[in-house]
Protein backbone atom coordinates (compact mmCIF):
# COMPACT_ATOMS: atom_id res chain seq x y z
CA UNK A 1 0.00 0.00 0.00
CA UNK A 2 1.22 3.46 -0.59
CA UNK A 3 0.56 6.07 -3.19
CA UNK A 4 -2.65 7.39 -1.65
CA UNK A 5 -2.75 11.12 -2.24
CA UNK A 6 -5.32 13.86 -1.72
CA UNK A 7 -5.10 17.34 -3.24
CA UNK A 8 -7.23 19.90 -1.44
CA UNK A 9 -7.68 22.34 1.39
CA UNK A 10 -8.20 21.41 5.06
CA UNK A 11 -10.99 24.01 5.22
CA UNK A 12 -12.90 22.66 2.21
CA UNK A 13 -15.87 20.54 3.30
CA UNK A 14 -15.47 18.23 0.33
CA UNK A 15 -11.78 17.71 1.08
CA UNK A 16 -12.59 17.09 4.74
CA UNK A 17 -15.16 14.47 3.71
CA UNK A 18 -12.40 12.43 2.07
CA UNK A 19 -9.90 13.05 4.89
CA UNK A 20 -12.47 11.79 7.41
CA UNK A 21 -12.68 8.46 5.61
CA UNK A 22 -8.87 8.19 5.41
CA UNK A 23 -8.72 8.57 9.17
CA UNK A 24 -11.67 6.27 9.92
CA UNK A 25 -9.97 3.61 7.76
CA UNK A 26 -6.56 4.37 9.37
CA UNK A 27 -4.94 4.82 5.97
CA UNK A 28 -1.72 6.69 5.41
CA UNK A 29 -1.82 9.30 2.72
CA UNK A 30 0.00 12.23 1.22
CA UNK A 31 -1.86 15.55 1.62
CA UNK A 32 -1.04 18.06 -1.10
CA UNK A 33 -2.42 21.48 -0.19
CA UNK A 34 -3.91 23.39 -3.09
CA UNK A 35 -3.47 27.17 -2.91
CA UNK A 36 -7.01 28.21 -3.74
CA UNK A 37 -6.39 31.86 -2.89
CA UNK A 38 -4.03 32.10 -5.84
CA UNK A 39 -6.36 30.06 -8.10
CA UNK A 40 -4.20 26.95 -8.19
CA UNK A 41 -7.34 24.82 -8.59
CA UNK A 42 -8.01 26.46 -11.97
CA UNK A 43 -4.56 25.82 -13.45
CA UNK A 44 -4.15 23.30 -16.28
CA UNK A 45 -2.03 21.12 -13.99
CA UNK A 46 -4.87 20.83 -11.46
CA UNK A 47 -7.60 20.54 -14.11
CA UNK A 48 -5.87 17.36 -15.25
CA UNK A 49 -6.77 15.94 -11.81
CA UNK A 50 -10.24 17.50 -11.50
CA UNK A 51 -11.66 18.86 -14.76
CA UNK A 52 -14.26 20.86 -12.82
CA UNK A 53 -11.48 22.83 -11.11
CA UNK A 54 -12.68 21.87 -7.63
CA UNK A 55 -11.14 20.23 -4.59
CA UNK A 56 -10.50 17.49 -3.72
CA UNK A 57 -8.68 15.40 -6.28
CA UNK A 58 -7.43 11.93 -5.38
CA UNK A 59 -4.81 9.45 -6.53
CA UNK A 60 -4.25 5.81 -5.61
CA UNK A 61 -1.25 4.78 -7.69
CA UNK A 62 -2.45 5.06 -11.30
CA UNK A 63 -6.08 5.65 -10.30
CA UNK A 64 -7.21 9.26 -10.41
CA UNK A 65 -10.58 10.41 -9.12
CA UNK A 66 -12.60 13.49 -8.23
CA UNK A 67 -16.02 14.01 -6.49
CA UNK A 68 -15.64 13.47 -2.74
CA UNK A 69 -18.57 11.04 -2.43
CA UNK A 70 -17.21 8.81 -5.21
CA UNK A 71 -13.75 8.85 -3.61
CA UNK A 72 -15.14 7.92 -0.20
CA UNK A 73 -17.15 5.03 -1.72
CA UNK A 74 -14.02 3.80 -3.49
CA UNK A 75 -11.99 3.94 -0.25
CA UNK A 76 -14.72 2.26 1.79
CA UNK A 77 -14.94 -0.63 -0.68
CA UNK A 78 -11.28 -1.01 -1.56
CA UNK A 79 -10.05 -0.85 2.03
CA UNK A 80 -13.08 -2.57 3.57
CA UNK A 81 -10.90 -4.71 5.81
CA UNK A 82 -9.12 -1.74 7.41
CA UNK A 83 -10.15 0.52 10.28
CA UNK A 84 -13.83 1.35 10.85
CA UNK A 85 -16.38 -0.64 8.89
CA UNK A 86 -18.32 2.01 6.94
CA UNK A 87 -20.39 -0.25 4.71
CA UNK A 88 -22.94 -2.96 5.44
CA UNK A 89 -22.51 -6.47 4.03
CA UNK A 90 -26.24 -7.22 4.16
CA UNK A 91 -27.81 -5.96 0.91
CA UNK A 92 -30.93 -4.44 2.49
CA UNK A 93 -28.88 -2.50 5.05
CA UNK A 94 -26.53 -1.37 2.28
CA UNK A 95 -29.47 -0.22 0.13
CA UNK A 96 -30.97 1.62 3.10
CA UNK A 97 -27.66 3.41 3.77
CA UNK A 98 -27.40 4.25 0.07
CA UNK A 99 -30.70 6.14 0.31
CA UNK A 100 -29.32 8.31 3.12
CA UNK A 101 -26.05 8.91 1.28
CA UNK A 102 -28.24 10.46 -1.43
CA UNK A 103 -30.31 12.35 1.18
CA UNK A 104 -27.13 13.99 2.47
CA UNK A 105 -26.05 14.93 -1.06
CA UNK A 106 -29.41 16.21 -2.29
CA UNK A 107 -31.39 17.45 0.72
CA UNK A 108 -28.96 18.22 3.54
CA UNK A 109 -25.91 19.50 1.67
CA UNK A 110 -27.83 21.87 -0.63
CA UNK A 111 -29.19 23.85 2.32
CA UNK A 112 -26.54 23.25 4.97
CA UNK A 113 -23.55 24.12 2.76
CA UNK A 114 -25.11 27.45 1.82
CA UNK A 115 -25.80 28.14 5.50
CA UNK A 116 -22.23 27.19 6.48
CA UNK A 117 -21.01 29.55 3.75
CA UNK A 118 -23.11 32.43 5.12
CA UNK A 119 -22.39 31.91 8.82
CA UNK A 120 -18.88 30.45 8.92
CA UNK A 121 -16.92 30.71 5.69
CA UNK A 122 -17.85 34.22 4.56
CA UNK A 123 -16.58 35.74 7.84
CA UNK A 124 -13.39 33.66 7.48
CA UNK A 125 -12.81 35.34 4.12
CA UNK A 126 -13.62 38.79 5.50
CA UNK A 127 -17.10 38.92 3.92
CA UNK A 128 -20.32 39.87 5.66
CA UNK A 129 -23.06 37.32 6.51
CA UNK A 130 -26.39 38.05 4.82
CA UNK A 131 -28.66 37.68 7.88
CA UNK A 132 -31.91 37.42 5.90
CA UNK A 133 -30.53 34.64 3.73
CA UNK A 134 -29.16 32.87 6.82
CA UNK A 135 -32.56 32.99 8.54
CA UNK A 136 -34.30 31.62 5.48
CA UNK A 137 -31.75 28.81 5.19
CA UNK A 138 -32.10 27.99 8.88
CA UNK A 139 -35.83 27.52 8.30
CA UNK A 140 -35.19 25.20 5.35
CA UNK A 141 -32.58 23.28 7.35
CA UNK A 142 -35.15 22.83 10.11
CA UNK A 143 -37.53 21.09 7.68
CA UNK A 144 -34.79 18.69 6.55
CA UNK A 145 -33.77 17.99 10.15
CA UNK A 146 -37.39 17.17 11.01
CA UNK A 147 -37.05 14.22 8.62
CA UNK A 148 -33.70 13.37 10.24
CA UNK A 149 -35.29 13.46 13.71
CA UNK A 150 -37.86 10.89 12.56
CA UNK A 151 -35.11 8.74 11.01
CA UNK A 152 -32.93 8.90 14.13
CA UNK A 153 -35.82 7.97 16.39
CA UNK A 154 -35.89 4.62 14.54
CA UNK A 155 -32.17 4.03 13.87
CA UNK A 156 -29.21 5.04 15.99
CA UNK A 157 -27.33 6.52 13.06
CA UNK A 158 -28.24 8.09 9.73
CA UNK A 159 -26.54 5.11 8.07
CA UNK A 160 -28.73 2.65 9.97
CA UNK A 161 -28.07 0.64 13.14
CA UNK A 162 -24.33 1.23 12.92
CA UNK A 163 -22.10 4.24 12.19
CA UNK A 164 -21.27 4.31 8.49
CA UNK A 165 -20.44 6.26 5.38
CA UNK A 166 -23.67 8.30 5.36
CA UNK A 167 -22.81 9.64 8.84
CA UNK A 168 -19.22 10.48 7.87
CA UNK A 169 -20.40 12.43 4.82
CA UNK A 170 -22.23 14.87 7.11
CA UNK A 171 -19.32 15.63 9.44
CA UNK A 172 -17.68 18.55 7.59
CA UNK A 173 -20.78 20.72 7.23
CA UNK A 174 -22.15 19.70 10.64
CA UNK A 175 -18.78 20.71 12.10
CA UNK A 176 -19.10 24.24 10.74
CA UNK A 177 -22.78 24.66 11.65
CA UNK A 178 -22.42 23.30 15.20
CA UNK A 179 -19.95 26.07 15.99
CA UNK A 180 -22.29 28.74 14.64
CA UNK A 181 -25.71 30.20 15.58
CA UNK A 182 -27.20 27.39 13.47
CA UNK A 183 -26.33 24.95 16.27
CA UNK A 184 -29.79 25.63 17.73
CA UNK A 185 -31.46 24.04 14.70
CA UNK A 186 -29.69 20.76 15.55
CA UNK A 187 -30.04 20.74 19.34
CA UNK A 188 -33.73 21.71 19.19
CA UNK A 189 -34.22 18.16 17.90
CA UNK A 190 -33.04 15.74 20.60
CA UNK A 191 -32.01 12.78 18.41
CA UNK A 192 -30.40 15.03 15.81
CA UNK A 193 -28.50 16.96 18.49
CA UNK A 194 -27.09 13.77 20.01
CA UNK A 195 -26.15 12.39 16.62
CA UNK A 196 -24.43 15.63 15.55
CA UNK A 197 -22.37 15.69 18.74
CA UNK A 198 -21.45 12.03 18.29
CA UNK A 199 -20.17 12.28 14.74
CA UNK A 200 -18.00 15.25 15.72
CA UNK A 201 -16.63 13.39 18.75
CA UNK A 202 -15.04 10.59 16.70
CA UNK A 203 -11.22 10.52 17.12
CA UNK A 204 -10.87 10.27 13.33
CA UNK A 205 -12.77 13.55 12.99
CA UNK A 206 -10.55 15.27 15.57
CA UNK A 207 -7.55 14.37 13.39
CA UNK A 208 -9.17 16.01 10.36
CA UNK A 209 -9.88 19.20 12.29
CA UNK A 210 -6.29 19.24 13.60
CA UNK A 211 -5.11 19.71 10.01
CA UNK A 212 -6.81 23.12 9.96
CA UNK A 213 -4.71 24.20 12.92
CA UNK A 214 -1.51 23.38 11.07
CA UNK A 215 -2.20 26.27 8.68
Amino acid sequence: MGGLRVHGSPFSTATMRVLAVFHEKELEYDFVQVDMKSGEHKTDKFLALNPFGQVPAFEDGDIKMFESRAITQYLAHTYADRGTQLLFKEPKKMADQSVWVEVEAHHFDKVASKLAWELCLKPMFGMKTDEATAEELKGELGKVLDVYEARLSRTTFISGDAFGLADVHHAPVVHYLMSSPAKEVFVARPHVGKWAEYILSRPAWARVVALQNKE
Binding site: P51, F52, I63, M65, F66, E67, S68, R69, A70, I71, Q73, Y74, H77, T78, P91, K92, M94, A95, D96, S98, V99, V101, E102, V103, A105, H106, H107, V147, A150, R151
Partner: protein
Amino acid sequence: MATPVKVYGPAASTAVSRVLACLLEKEVQFQLINVNMSKREHKSPEYLKIQPFGQVPAFQDDSISLFESRAICRYLCEKHGNRGNKNLYGTNPLVKASIDQWIEAEAQSFNQPSSALVFQLVFAPKFKIKQDEGVIKQNEEKLSKVLDVYEKRLEESRFLAGEEFTLADLSHLPNAQYLVHATDRARGLFTEKKNVWRWWGEISGRESWKKVVDMQNAPPA
Protein backbone atom coordinates in the same frame (compact mmCIF):
# COMPACT_ATOMS: atom_id res chain seq x y z
CA MET B 1 -39.89 -14.61 -11.42
CA ALA B 2 -40.62 -12.43 -8.41
CA THR B 3 -43.58 -10.07 -8.39
CA PRO B 4 -43.04 -6.88 -10.40
CA VAL B 5 -41.37 -4.12 -8.42
CA LYS B 6 -43.35 -0.96 -7.73
CA VAL B 7 -42.32 2.54 -8.76
CA TYR B 8 -44.45 5.41 -7.49
CA GLY B 9 -44.69 8.63 -9.51
CA PRO B 10 -45.51 10.03 -12.93
CA ALA B 11 -43.29 9.00 -15.87
CA ALA B 12 -42.98 12.70 -16.73
CA SER B 13 -40.93 13.29 -13.56
CA THR B 14 -37.21 13.39 -14.35
CA ALA B 15 -36.29 11.41 -11.24
CA VAL B 16 -38.97 8.77 -11.89
CA SER B 17 -37.82 8.37 -15.49
CA ARG B 18 -34.24 7.83 -14.27
CA VAL B 19 -35.46 4.74 -12.39
CA LEU B 20 -37.63 3.56 -15.30
CA ALA B 21 -34.62 3.73 -17.64
CA CYS B 22 -32.60 1.60 -15.23
CA LEU B 23 -35.41 -0.96 -14.83
CA LEU B 24 -35.70 -1.31 -18.60
CA GLU B 25 -31.92 -1.64 -19.04
CA LYS B 26 -31.85 -4.36 -16.36
CA GLU B 27 -35.01 -6.02 -17.78
CA VAL B 28 -36.68 -6.01 -14.37
CA GLN B 29 -40.47 -6.14 -14.49
CA PHE B 30 -42.17 -3.23 -12.84
CA GLN B 31 -45.52 -1.64 -12.12
CA LEU B 32 -45.72 2.15 -12.39
CA ILE B 33 -48.13 3.51 -9.82
CA ASN B 34 -49.22 7.05 -10.53
CA VAL B 35 -49.05 9.68 -7.81
CA ASN B 36 -51.43 12.53 -8.54
CA MET B 37 -49.23 15.51 -7.79
CA SER B 38 -51.79 18.11 -8.79
CA LYS B 39 -53.96 16.67 -6.00
CA ARG B 40 -50.90 16.81 -3.67
CA GLU B 41 -50.96 13.04 -3.21
CA HIS B 42 -47.17 13.15 -2.74
CA LYS B 43 -47.68 15.14 0.47
CA SER B 44 -50.29 12.79 1.94
CA PRO B 45 -49.47 11.02 5.23
CA GLU B 46 -49.55 7.59 3.48
CA TYR B 47 -47.10 8.69 0.82
CA LEU B 48 -44.79 10.39 3.32
CA LYS B 49 -44.35 6.98 4.96
CA ILE B 50 -42.51 5.76 1.87
CA GLN B 51 -40.86 9.08 0.90
CA PRO B 52 -40.47 11.40 3.91
CA PHE B 53 -39.50 14.39 1.75
CA GLY B 54 -42.77 14.14 -0.21
CA GLN B 55 -41.07 13.73 -3.59
CA VAL B 56 -41.18 11.18 -6.41
CA PRO B 57 -40.12 8.47 -6.99
CA ALA B 58 -40.58 5.94 -4.23
CA PHE B 59 -39.80 2.26 -4.82
CA GLN B 60 -40.76 -1.08 -3.33
CA ASP B 61 -39.86 -4.64 -4.12
CA ASP B 62 -40.59 -7.77 -2.09
CA SER B 63 -37.82 -7.01 0.39
CA ILE B 64 -37.38 -3.26 0.73
CA SER B 65 -38.82 0.24 0.39
CA LEU B 66 -36.45 2.91 -1.00
CA PHE B 67 -36.35 6.48 -2.30
CA GLU B 68 -33.78 8.76 -4.09
CA SER B 69 -33.58 7.75 -7.76
CA ARG B 70 -29.80 7.23 -7.85
CA ALA B 71 -29.92 4.98 -4.76
CA ILE B 72 -32.76 2.97 -6.34
CA CYS B 73 -30.72 2.58 -9.55
CA ARG B 74 -27.64 1.39 -7.66
CA TYR B 75 -29.77 -1.09 -5.67
CA LEU B 76 -31.29 -2.50 -8.87
CA CYS B 77 -27.85 -2.94 -10.43
CA GLU B 78 -26.45 -4.65 -7.31
CA LYS B 79 -29.47 -6.94 -6.86
CA HIS B 80 -29.91 -7.85 -10.51
CA GLY B 81 -26.25 -7.93 -11.55
CA ASN B 82 -26.79 -10.81 -13.97
CA ARG B 83 -29.95 -9.52 -15.64
CA GLY B 84 -30.18 -7.33 -18.69
CA ASN B 85 -27.30 -4.91 -19.22
CA LYS B 86 -24.51 -6.38 -17.10
CA ASN B 87 -22.18 -3.40 -17.69
CA LEU B 88 -24.55 -0.80 -16.33
CA TYR B 89 -22.76 -0.49 -12.99
CA GLY B 90 -19.46 -2.06 -14.06
CA THR B 91 -18.13 -5.56 -13.60
CA ASN B 92 -15.11 -4.64 -11.46
CA PRO B 93 -14.36 -2.10 -8.70
CA LEU B 94 -12.21 0.21 -10.84
CA VAL B 95 -14.90 0.66 -13.48
CA LYS B 96 -17.45 1.12 -10.69
CA ALA B 97 -15.31 3.91 -9.19
CA SER B 98 -15.30 5.73 -12.52
CA ILE B 99 -19.06 5.28 -12.88
CA ASP B 100 -19.62 6.60 -9.34
CA GLN B 101 -17.42 9.59 -10.11
CA TRP B 102 -19.49 10.60 -13.14
CA ILE B 103 -22.81 9.90 -11.35
CA GLU B 104 -21.60 12.36 -8.70
CA ALA B 105 -20.59 14.85 -11.41
CA GLU B 106 -24.14 14.59 -12.77
CA ALA B 107 -25.67 14.96 -9.33
CA GLN B 108 -23.41 17.81 -8.16
CA SER B 109 -22.68 19.81 -11.33
CA PHE B 110 -25.08 18.91 -14.15
CA ASN B 111 -28.27 18.41 -12.16
CA GLN B 112 -28.79 21.83 -10.62
CA PRO B 113 -28.51 24.06 -13.72
CA SER B 114 -30.26 21.54 -15.99
CA SER B 115 -33.12 21.04 -13.49
CA ALA B 116 -33.56 24.79 -13.13
CA LEU B 117 -33.78 25.11 -16.92
CA VAL B 118 -36.21 22.18 -17.24
CA PHE B 119 -38.46 23.90 -14.72
CA GLN B 120 -38.23 27.30 -16.41
CA LEU B 121 -38.55 26.12 -20.00
CA VAL B 122 -40.89 23.12 -19.72
CA PHE B 123 -42.87 23.05 -16.48
CA ALA B 124 -43.36 26.77 -15.80
CA PRO B 125 -45.20 27.39 -19.10
CA LYS B 126 -47.20 24.16 -18.57
CA PHE B 127 -48.38 25.28 -15.12
CA LYS B 128 -48.78 28.91 -16.21
CA ILE B 129 -45.98 30.12 -13.93
CA LYS B 130 -44.05 33.20 -15.12
CA GLN B 131 -40.61 32.43 -16.49
CA ASP B 132 -37.59 34.23 -15.02
CA GLU B 133 -35.25 35.30 -17.84
CA GLY B 134 -32.46 36.04 -15.34
CA VAL B 135 -32.61 32.51 -13.91
CA ILE B 136 -32.69 31.06 -17.44
CA LYS B 137 -29.62 33.00 -18.54
CA GLN B 138 -27.67 32.25 -15.37
CA ASN B 139 -28.32 28.50 -15.62
CA GLU B 140 -27.61 28.40 -19.36
CA GLU B 141 -24.15 29.80 -18.59
CA LYS B 142 -23.59 27.33 -15.75
CA LEU B 143 -24.73 24.37 -17.84
CA SER B 144 -22.58 25.46 -20.77
CA LYS B 145 -19.49 25.42 -18.53
CA VAL B 146 -20.36 21.92 -17.29
CA LEU B 147 -20.83 20.75 -20.87
CA ASP B 148 -17.37 22.17 -21.69
CA VAL B 149 -15.94 19.65 -19.21
CA TYR B 150 -18.03 16.87 -20.76
CA GLU B 151 -16.88 17.89 -24.25
CA LYS B 152 -13.25 17.34 -23.24
CA ARG B 153 -14.00 14.06 -21.49
CA LEU B 154 -15.99 12.70 -24.43
CA GLU B 155 -13.09 13.46 -26.76
CA GLU B 156 -11.09 10.73 -24.97
CA SER B 157 -13.92 8.40 -24.06
CA ARG B 158 -16.99 7.08 -25.88
CA PHE B 159 -19.16 7.35 -22.78
CA LEU B 160 -18.53 9.24 -19.54
CA ALA B 161 -17.10 6.40 -17.47
CA GLY B 162 -15.37 4.57 -20.33
CA GLU B 163 -16.17 2.69 -23.48
CA GLU B 164 -19.51 1.25 -22.28
CA PHE B 165 -22.88 2.90 -21.61
CA THR B 166 -23.35 2.99 -17.83
CA LEU B 167 -25.48 4.41 -15.04
CA ALA B 168 -23.37 7.57 -15.29
CA ASP B 169 -24.70 8.30 -18.81
CA LEU B 170 -28.20 7.08 -17.93
CA SER B 171 -28.42 9.56 -15.03
CA HIS B 172 -28.26 12.42 -17.53
CA LEU B 173 -31.04 11.22 -19.82
CA PRO B 174 -34.08 12.71 -18.03
CA ASN B 175 -33.04 16.37 -17.82
CA ALA B 176 -31.22 16.41 -21.17
CA GLN B 177 -34.27 14.89 -22.93
CA TYR B 178 -36.44 17.80 -21.87
CA LEU B 179 -33.84 20.43 -22.70
CA VAL B 180 -32.99 19.09 -26.15
CA HIS B 181 -36.67 19.32 -27.08
CA ALA B 182 -37.58 22.46 -25.12
CA THR B 183 -36.32 25.50 -27.02
CA ASP B 184 -33.76 26.19 -29.75
CA ARG B 185 -31.53 27.91 -27.21
CA ALA B 186 -31.58 24.95 -24.82
CA ARG B 187 -31.03 22.47 -27.65
CA GLY B 188 -28.16 24.66 -28.85
CA LEU B 189 -26.27 24.11 -25.59
CA PHE B 190 -25.92 20.47 -26.67
CA THR B 191 -25.66 20.75 -30.46
CA GLU B 192 -22.87 23.35 -30.29
CA LYS B 193 -20.53 20.75 -28.74
CA LYS B 194 -19.52 18.04 -31.20
CA ASN B 195 -18.67 15.24 -28.74
CA VAL B 196 -21.58 16.00 -26.39
CA TRP B 197 -23.99 15.90 -29.32
CA ARG B 198 -22.53 12.61 -30.57
CA TRP B 199 -22.84 11.17 -27.04
CA TRP B 200 -26.41 12.43 -26.71
CA GLY B 201 -27.40 10.70 -29.97
CA GLU B 202 -25.99 7.40 -28.74
CA ILE B 203 -27.45 7.40 -25.24
CA SER B 204 -30.89 8.73 -26.20
CA GLY B 205 -31.12 6.29 -29.10
CA ARG B 206 -31.11 3.28 -26.79
CA GLU B 207 -34.29 1.15 -26.92
CA SER B 208 -34.75 1.44 -23.16
CA TRP B 209 -34.77 5.25 -23.29
CA LYS B 210 -37.12 5.35 -26.27
CA LYS B 211 -39.56 3.23 -24.24
CA VAL B 212 -39.33 5.69 -21.32
CA VAL B 213 -40.05 8.62 -23.66
CA ASP B 214 -43.08 6.71 -25.03
CA MET B 215 -44.32 6.28 -21.46
CA GLN B 216 -43.88 10.01 -20.86
CA ASN B 217 -45.79 10.85 -24.04
CA ALA B 218 -48.59 8.33 -23.49
CA PRO B 219 -52.01 9.92 -22.94
CA PRO B 220 -52.99 10.14 -19.24
CA ALA B 221 -54.69 7.00 -17.89
